[in-house]
């Protein structure tokens, strides 16, 4: 029983077992739950790295549950798989790495951020369950299993948004809005699963992709899935829940929620690329996703400039940055049909979009952590009440500068690396789009200069006399994120060549996705 071909499930099952044990450990002593959760998330981060190295060297990994051997996809005598399986390819493990890293840092950050008096074991149990559900959404190869993990993700994130809701009213209202949106989206995903099951009597994504006849019903199922998953990812038509949910949740949870909505964005890419690929007319669907992206970019940044609350401002920026990803991958999808255009700029556009998911998770996480640090010390999120904090909180100021420079796309940082890929490839596709993208980037820089000025600069305010730097575990989490941002910014092609490019190729080549399952490897 060598451990290496059981890694996909160990990444997920060990934190799940820990989440079930935490209420028992919480009864023994409260402090142990935080450290236990952090250790378990560190362990699953190590397993993710092992799996990533294996996938990038050997190829997509399959793990079938309950079969005689982890690779036996087709039981004797049947053309289609009947058991649930994990199908982890380069794109899945790319998202898995982000999830593992961000949740590990979130656990470290919340060791000091969450006060220890009551409900700590519930908090860490929900944190572990949210991480497990994101892993499940990214690794699974079965649609119904994806619906179950989507539901766990929305339940865990709603409970975490309402975590501060016992004595404050706003978190519960924000949680209720998010709950209604994610309930509708989960039920519509289930309706689409019902359509696929009714037509083809098969539930495995690769099997459905191979047997897809693209009838009238499949177009409707595609329409439902794309619109609902875009809603869950926070694209514009239904983005009202994002600022409320991100501003009311505790800071480390907001960082993980950003990655949770990227997981449903990944699911949308999986549906469009691995389930439908060439069968749908890619130009029309590509343009729809581009329009989603443009709207998100523009409305996100224009709403962000007028915000007073620092976390709402960053939440609107999260929407506008999601617009960049949609733009990049939308251009890649639009030219999927003609191979020449695809080779010329389609692949670089998708590389920019997908690399932007990683970068966005890093610098948006860092910005939310700095906002959490300000809230932790000053107790307020309103920009007008803050001022002159640079004098007291040296490290947080440096981290904020790094994060703001990265989101605005200034050269030495990772935001620039992915945005330049998007600009130059989208320019070849349609110059107007990349001009809008640049304008939005400039507006982002403007709004963050405003935040920097009103929160950090200015004279020493009397009421912040006793404010001092945040505890070490919070500084450690922010420091790790800043090092990653600078490292990605200085050596972008190292990451793009051997992490992002395989992910893009695994999305584009649908036949490889289906052969690994139906080829009966």
């Amino acid at each position: 029983m060598n451990l290496s071909n059981h890694t996909p499930i160990l990444i997920l099952a060990v934190p799940l077992l820990a989440a079930f044990l935490i209420p028992i450990i919480g009864k023994i002593n409260k402090k142990a739950t935080g450290i236990f959760a952090t250790l378990v998330l560190g362990l699953s981060l190590i397993f993710t790295i092992i799996l990533a190295v294996k996938i990038l060297s050997v190829g997509p990994q399959i793990y079938v549950f309950g079969a005689k051997s982890p690779f036996l996809t087709l039981p004797s005598g049947l053309k289609f798989p009947i058991r649930i399986m994990f199908q982890v390819d380069a794109m899945g493990i790319f998202m898995g790495l982000i999830t593992a890293l961000v949740s590990f840092l979130g656990a470290i950050y919340s060791l000091a951020f969450i006060n220890k008096n009551n409900g700590v074991d519930n908090y860490y149990s929900l944190l572990l369950l949210l991480t497990v559900s994101m892993f499940g959404m990214e690794f699974t190869g079965d649609i119904f299993n994806f619906f179950v993990f989507l539901e766990i993700a929305s339940m865990a994130s709603v409970s975490l948004i309402c975590y501060r809701g016992t004595d404050l009213g706003e978190p519960v209202e924000a949680g209720f809005k998010y709950m209604v949106v994610s309930s509708i989206s989960a039920l519509m995903v289930l309706f689409a699963v019902g359509i696929f099951y009714g037509e083809y009597d098969v539930l495995n994504i690769a099997a459905i992709a191979s047997v897809m006849k693209h009838s009238q019903l499949d177009k409707i199922a595609l329409g439902i899935l794309v619109s609902v998953l875009a809603m869950k990812a926070g694209a514009v038509p239904v983005h009202m829940w994002t600022p409320d949910a991100y501003s009311e949740a505790p800071a480390p949870i907001t960082m993980i929620l950003v990655v949770a909505s990227q997981a449903s964005l990944y699911a949308m890419f999986r549906v469009v690329f691995s389930l439908y690929n060439i069968t749908l007319n890619t130009l029309a669907v590509g343009w729809i996703i581009i329009i989603f992206g443009l709207l998100s970019m523009f409305i996100g940044v224009t709403m962000a400039i007028i915000q007073k609350d620092i976390k709402r401002l960053m939440a609107y920026h999260a929407i506008s940055q999601t617009g960049y990803m949609l733009l990049g991958v939308g251009v890649g999808l639009a030219v999927l049909a003609n191979p020449t255009a695809l080779q010329r700029y389609g692949i670089t556009a998708m590389e920019g979009g997908i690399f932007h998911i990683m970068n966005h998770a890093m610098y948006k996480g860092l910005l939310f952590l700095t906002a959490g640090a300000l809230f932790f010390r000053t107790g307020t999120r309103n920009l007008d009440k803050m001022g002159g904090l640079a004098h007291y909180m040296k490290y947080t100021t440096i981290f904020f500068i790094i994060g703001a420079a990265a989101i605005a796309g200034l050269p030495p940082f990772n935001g620039f690396a992915s945005k330049i890929l998007i600009y130059e490839s989208v320019y070849k596709f349609n110059p107007l789009l990349s001009i809008i993208a640049m304008v939005v980037s400039i507006l982002t820089l403007a709004s963050f200069v405003k935040v920097f000025h009103s929160a950090f600069l200015g004279p020493k305010l009397p009421q912040f006399k006793e404010v001092k730097e945040v505890p070490r575990s919070m500084v450690l989490a922010m420091a790790v994120l800043s090092c990653i941002i600078i490292f990605f910014g200085l050596f972008p092609d190292l990451i793009v060549k051997n992490l992002v490019h395989p992910a893009v190729m695994s999305l584009i080549e649908q036949f490889k996705y289906t052969n690994t399952v139906l080829g009966g490897m």
């Binding site: 309950g66 289609f80 009947i82 179950v148 865990a156 709603v158 004595d167 037509e199 009597d201």
Partner: protein, 88 residues
Amino acid sequence: MKKIIFGIAFIVFFSFLVISAINMRPFGNPAFSEMDDYFIKNAQSEAGANNAVTSIVFDYRGFDTLGEATVLFTTIVGIVALFRRITK
């Protein structure tokens, strides 16, 4: 004004559903059913249970049931976290 936009969105979405209901296959006889015939034939021998549905729920698709027990656990921890101040 808001009501009109909502009304249009509702009608568009409802027409999606009606079209899918109409050209869904007829109710009584499923077009393809090899996966289910395999379950009905082999559930007894492979999983050893008389009840094919339970053998699917716990053996063939056991991971769904683990995910679903986690959903119930998440909700309960969420409600305990929400009501933690009232009970103490």
